[in-house]
């Protein structure tokens, strides 16, 4: 099962690399959109989790 999972991840990695090479070469702004959107989502999510952490430290603080 672990080998299958590893193989699956390896295939996903290869497909991602091929996607990155092709789209990065042919359509740099499309590639930027994919990477940028993921980054925006992650930073927005991190901000929310940071707020949870701030709440835990000082539960009665103002927002």
């Amino acid at each position: 099962m672990n080998i299958m999972r590893l193989a699956g991840l390896a295939v996903a990695l290869v497909v991602s690399l091929l996607f990155a090479v092709f789209v990065g070469d042919q359509g740099p702004w499309y590639f930027a959109w994919v990477v940028g959107t993921v980054m925006i989502i992650l930073i927005a999510g991190a901000g929310a989790i940071l707020l949870d952490a701030q709440d835990e430290q000082t539960p009665e603080k103002e927002i």
């Binding site: 359509g27 702004w29 989502i41 927005a44 949870d52 709440d55 835990e56 539960p59 603080k61 927002i63």
Partner: protein
Amino acid sequence: MELINPDVVDLSRFQFALTALYHFMFVPLTLGLTFMLAAMETVYVVTGRQIYKDMAQFWGKLFGINFAIGVATGITMEFEFGTNWSMYSRFFGDMFGTPLAIEGLMAFFMESTFVGLMFFGWDRLSRPAHLAITYLVALGSNLSALWILVANASMNMPEGAHFDPDTMRMQFDSVVKVIFNPDAQAKFVHTSVAGYVSAAMFVMGISAFYILRGQHKAFAARSFRMAALFGIISTVAVITLGDVLGRLDYEHQPTKIAAIEGLWHTSKPPFEPWLAFALPDDARQENHLEIGVPFVLTPLVAHSFDTPITGMTELEEQAGPHIASGIQALSALRRYGQGHDPADLAQFRAHEADMGFGFLAMRHAPGQDVTAISAAEMDSVVRQTEPDILPNVFVTFWSFRIMVFLSLWFFAVFALSAYVSLTNRLERNRLLLKLCMWSIPLPILATEFGWITAEAGRQPWTVFNRLPTFLSASSHGVGYMIFSLAGFALLYSTFIAAELFLMFKYARLGPDHGAHGAQGPHLTVAHDRKDAFSIASSLSS
């Protein structure tokens, strides 16, 4: 070829502009909110905290209102190409129809199928499966925009096609060139990310409303922070991609760039000012009341300090030889159509690149027939046609400036909001919260003016340098156009009124009221009792 009544052309343009601008009041929220929902649900899946599920469900409900009312408004535009722009569709349908068909088959189906699963699958799907569905909705709605913008870019920068003199239309050559057209890439990212800005301001503004009223504070604080961070990065990306689009226009649509900058005469680098204010006078080809910032225009447009930017007067003069060459192309094409003589075809090929300028000269040719222009009349026809290559400078200049000034405003509001939220001082900054609230409609306004800049700026062409707008419309009667225009205005205004009514209603009711799957006022936290206490206490305060 007979010219179409100019009133019908103007009414066709006005009808398309009206339906497109109405449609685009709904689109940005759909593009951006889906990814904001995905961000909220990602946090829910990662942390397991109920509040993020409530957030995804509440904002998802507002997205649903926008989606249900807004999506249909775009479909009419696809029919308008056939009803009101039949000459254009005949000439360019092979190119334009392909991305539209892909959009219908792929993006619409993908988007609408997964939207149903997203709304009704909360209790039927596992958390990761539902999250994947939400991402697919976001991807589907943005892919829908991608194909529309690929189609739009093929009009602005025709690549991957050639004109066939036997069929008299543009024919498809390369799908890769069409999809990876630089204008399509930049325009897609610019438009998609402008949708992110609209959604972020929407979420931030409504959250600010709750904070100002002391309602749903834990919910609002998290929504506000996520939206502020989402918005500030998106605004930077919008401005960056706007610069990329400007650079592309500088290289491929110099008349648009000159009109955007109100540049009647070739610039003198590096001093040439960027005009923050001016009143362009199209008739006299000059500006009134210029207020500019020196040394900014050249690096902004040309990305250098010593490159002159060609002004509209000089662009008109440069168009003269192209107009004369275009007239020869059309004359050769007419002869080739009658006799299929290879010599005529060869002559057409020699002037083919300027064919569009020949079409442009038709309005000034005797009997609108360029083949009837005598050698003595040629110079006069060319001179009369030259000013026709320019768009409406006043509209292009000001629509661009409104968009730019608004985007700078968004940058300031998002940056300040992110800072205040990260330092937990939101409640102390009531003025900022009010500004956020009143800024909700501004990103949508900015995208509308962005479209006006792009589309008014590329006039007089529907297909740039290939087919003029005045040759693209259908030959309807004026009465028919006024009747259908009034019908669209009435119908779409009803849609907007319904959307605003529902949005206001459900935004005022807040997340506690009947949210799909929401757990009433108990914004409990699944894994953390301390958090649950803090949220409950903040709710009751």
